[in-house]
Structures are given as C-alpha cells and as structure tokens.
Amino acid sequence: MNAIERSIQSAKPLWGVLGLLAVWWLVWKIKVADPVLLPSPQATMFSLWSGMTDGSLWHDFVATVRLTTVSFLLAAVIAIPLGIFLGSSVPLYRSVEFIIDFFRSTPASALFPLFLVLFGTGDLSKILVTAFGAGLVILFNVAYGVMNARQTRLLAAKVMGANKLQTLRDVMFWESLPQTFIGLRNGISLALVIVIVAEMFIGSTEGLGHRLVEAQMLFRMPEMYAAIFAAGALGYGLNWSSVMIEKRIVHWGGK
C-alpha cells in the first residue's frame, strides 16, 4: 500500500501532462478547432518520434544545440572574467553600468540587422549576436555578485595577507558564484531564444527555428508542433542541467 502511495506521489508531475494530453485529445476529437491547425496528440507524437529517429528533426535539433552552446560558452568565457574585473571596483562598474543596462534592455532581435551588416548572414552573425545578448546578462550578474561579496570574507582574506589578485581569485570569484549561476541560467535561456529567432529570420538552412518556419509555410502542422516540443524540451533540458551543475558546484548556496 505504502509503495503504491509513494509511486502515486512521485508521479505527481505527470498528472498535469496527462491532463493536458487528455484535453488536447478531447478538443481534437470533438473538432472544436480545425483539424488541419490542431492535429491529434498521437499524430504529433508520431511526427516527433519519426523526425528524431529518421534524422531530419534530430539534425535541426543538434544544429540549434550546437549554436546555442557555442554562443553561450563564448559569452561565459568573456563575461565571467570581465564581470569579476568590473565588479571588483564599484566606481569602475558605475561608470559602465548605464551602457550595460542599456544594451541589456535592448532586444537582441533589434540588433540582427546590425550584426548582419557587420558579419554577414552566416553562423558567425548568429553566434555573435547571441553571445552579445547572453553575455550582458551574465556580465551584470557576475559584477553584482562580486560587488555584494561578504565584507567579512574580504577582510578575513586581507588580514591573512592576501594580495589583490589572490583576493580576486580565492574569495571574490567564489563569493560571486551563486549570483554568477543566476546569470548563467538566465543567459542560456536567453541564448536559446535568440538562436531560435535568428534561425527563423537570418537566412538559415537548418536549426529548429528554420524548421518551424518551414513547417508553418508548408502547413505541415504535426511537424511544426513536433519542432515546438523539441525546442521546449531543449530549453527545459538546458535549464535543468544548469540547475544540476549549480547544485554540485555551489554546494554552500543558501546555507
């Protein structure tokens, strides 16, 4: 009895999913919406499955993962050290804060034309515009993490004789990690958004964004829904992985 109760408890997250599928199926069954616009759940799942196994959806999925990952890593590699550097001096950060906040608030999609002109229509443009958007989010979080480092810890390092560089490396970097991870999590979500939009509008031949637009133009609705779900799963997976990595690295967080 207990084991059954437990498995019912642990299955809780599935209830909502099953409920949604049931409503979807019902709406499709009684034909509330045009069946061309709303295919059945089973047709969509079949399209998702076949697309992933025959390679067509899988190919686009991998292309999007690749672009997102490369852009995100580029953003992180530049933004983390730069954020620590800027954050270690409050007057310095204040002097660039407006620029950071301004471009952080500018929709990255508004920058597409500029990056297209500067870097052409290839992957380079997409990577750079994504890294720019995600990088600013990471940068500002890292800098704030450093600026909000516990004063006592910095003093402890100072009284033990740590120099500027040692304090930066041994204390400020670690102190900023919880906030850095908030930036990384927001950054990777934003990177995925920018990549998908870029694939839709910057002359692409692959990627989930390209696939979505193509399926929509050709009215291949199950294929379009399948691509949406693939993108959703990708976003969820990226977020989940960053939470897991964060838990492992920032083990002291919130304690």
Partner: protein, 286 residues
C-alpha cells in the same frame, strides 16, 4: 623578515644626562617602548565624516598578556582593533609592533561572525590551510603544522566537513585555529563569543585560556560582555564615549587556569564592580 630597529634608533652608548639628571633620549625611547610593551600607539587620529572618534590617542598594549577592550556602544572598540590590525585605515598617528610596522608583523584576527569569516567553498581543513598557503608554506610543512595544531586542540570536529555542516562553536573553533596556525605575534578577537550560546561561550573562553597558557600570544579582545572581558583578561582597557580616551586600564591578576567559579572570587567581583562603575559613568544609561 627584516626586523626594523626601534624607532627612534636606540643609542649605542648610554646617552649623556642633562643638568637636572634627565636623559631625554632614553625618555623619548621609553615613550615608544615602556618595558613589556608589545604594541605602541601614538597620536592616533580617526574620524568618520564629521565625527571624531580618536584624536591624539596613545596606548600601550602589554606583551604576552590578554587585554580586553570594553566601553560604551559606539565608542570605537572594534574601530580600535581594526585600525591596529590594518583592516581599516587611520587618519594620523603611528602604530608599531615591537618597533615594526604591521606589514612586518604576523597578526591574526578572529571575527565575530564566524559564518561569514570562513570560506564555505572550502572544507574546514582547507580553511585552516589557507593562510599558510598565502604565506607560501610548502604542502608537506603545511600538513605538519596543521596536524600538530589539530592534535593540540583535541576537539571532536570533522575537519573534512564544510563549515555550514558544523555547529556555531565548531565554526568559531575553526576560525581560531585558522588564526593560530600561522603562529601570530598578536591575536585580535572581535567579540568572538557574541554569536554563541552561554554554554558554548564558557567552553570557548576556557579553550582560549588554554591556548594562551600554552603559547603566551599577545591577545587583544573586544567584548560586549563584562564577565567575559574580565574573566579572560590580564588587563581590561576601559574606553570613554567619543571622542574616545582611556577611562582606565584595570589589572586582573587572578591565577590561571581560571575556572567557572572564578566569577564568584572576591577579587573578580571587585574588579568587575570597578569596571562596571566606570562603564556606567561613561555609558548613557546611568
């Protein structure tokens, strides 16, 4: 580490006495170094904005003794030890340790907030290793020194745990060990017990006394609690309201080890009463 000579340089031959039998050079030297003094503070100035805390403040901290600092709120108790230990700058005056500057002296500092003073990303043992690492001590030597320290402390702590897995008393013990591992010439303690419960405070001050008896390290402790301040101290430095002056430097000479019953000892009661009277005169409660 180069030892700077006393300042001003001590004369090689006994200096000549003047007509009235005074010896100005020796007097000048003794102004800096009265016998048995470890830390000399001369003409210290400190202001926060328009508020003057210290002006022309002179103080001698005796060598190999525990000096408690006690006084009304906001009189600058912590400010004083923070200036001496170099955590905050001062506006004027000079502070010397045996004639050496701070940068030529090994000091350690135990903070009130142990949770924020330790590095939670390091295990307890690595926290203790860290100051030695900063000093460039090789790993094998480091391990030897930390092991010896752990043995002398003889406390049931899991040194492989992270700080947040330990109790408050254990964390403060790790802080004290981290401070002692470098064999400091002076140990500063800023209200080290104020975040601990009474039982843990008794244990920790006993532990601190044991360390002091074994090592004889000069200690300077800020305390909020008069009982702790007197119990541990050889001298209680009583400060006035700001601008801060020395209200009194009271000696408490009870034999060590002092025990939990020392607090009912007539001499303890007398000293504590005396300190309290001066404190009440200075504090705004009255």
């Amino acid at each position: 580490m180069a030892l700077k000579l006393a300042k001003p340089e001590p004369p090689m031959a006994p200096p000549p006495e003047d007509s009235r039998g005074r010896n100005p050079e020796l007097e000048e030297r003794l102004r800096w170094f009265p016998p048995n003094t470890h830390i000399t503070i001369r003409g210290l100035d400190k202001a926060f904005g328009d508020t003057t805390i210290y002006e022309g403040f002179d103080l001698n901290i005796p060598r190999g003794k525990i000096t408690s600092v006690f006084g009304p709120n906001g009189c600058g108790k912590s400010t004083l030890i923070n200036m001496i230990s170099g955590l905050i700058p001062y506006d004027g005056g000079e502070i010397l340790f045996d004639g050496k500057s701070l940068s030529e002296t090994h000091i350690s500092y135990v903070f009130q907030n142990y949770r924020e003073a330790l590095f939670p990303w390091m295990r307890a043992i690595d926290n203790i290793h860290y100051p030695l690492k900063l000093m460039g001590v090789p790993a094998a030597e480091r391990k030897r020194r930390v092991d010896a320290l752990i043995e002398s402390f003889d406390v049931p702590i899991d040194f492989n745990a992270y700080p947040y897995q330990l109790s408050g008393g254990q964390m403060q013990t790790i802080c004290i060990m981290r401070a002692l591992v470098v064999d400091p010439e002076v140990l500063f303690l800023d209200e080290p017990f104020s975040a601990l419960d009474y039982e843990m405070t008794l244990l920790m001050r006993d532990r601190l006394q044991k360390i002091f008896q074994e090592r004889g390290t000069t200690m300077m402790m800020v305390s909020h609690n008069l009982e702790d301040a007197v119990w541990l101290a050889d001298h209680i430095l009583l400060l006035t309201r700001k601008p801060t002056r020395i209200a009194d430097m009271v000696a408490f000479e009870a034999d060590r080890p002092r025990t939990a019953t020392t607090v009912s000892d007539p001499e303890f009661v007398r000293v504590q009463k005396h300190c309290l009277e001066i404190f009440l005169k200075e504090a705004s409660v009255r």
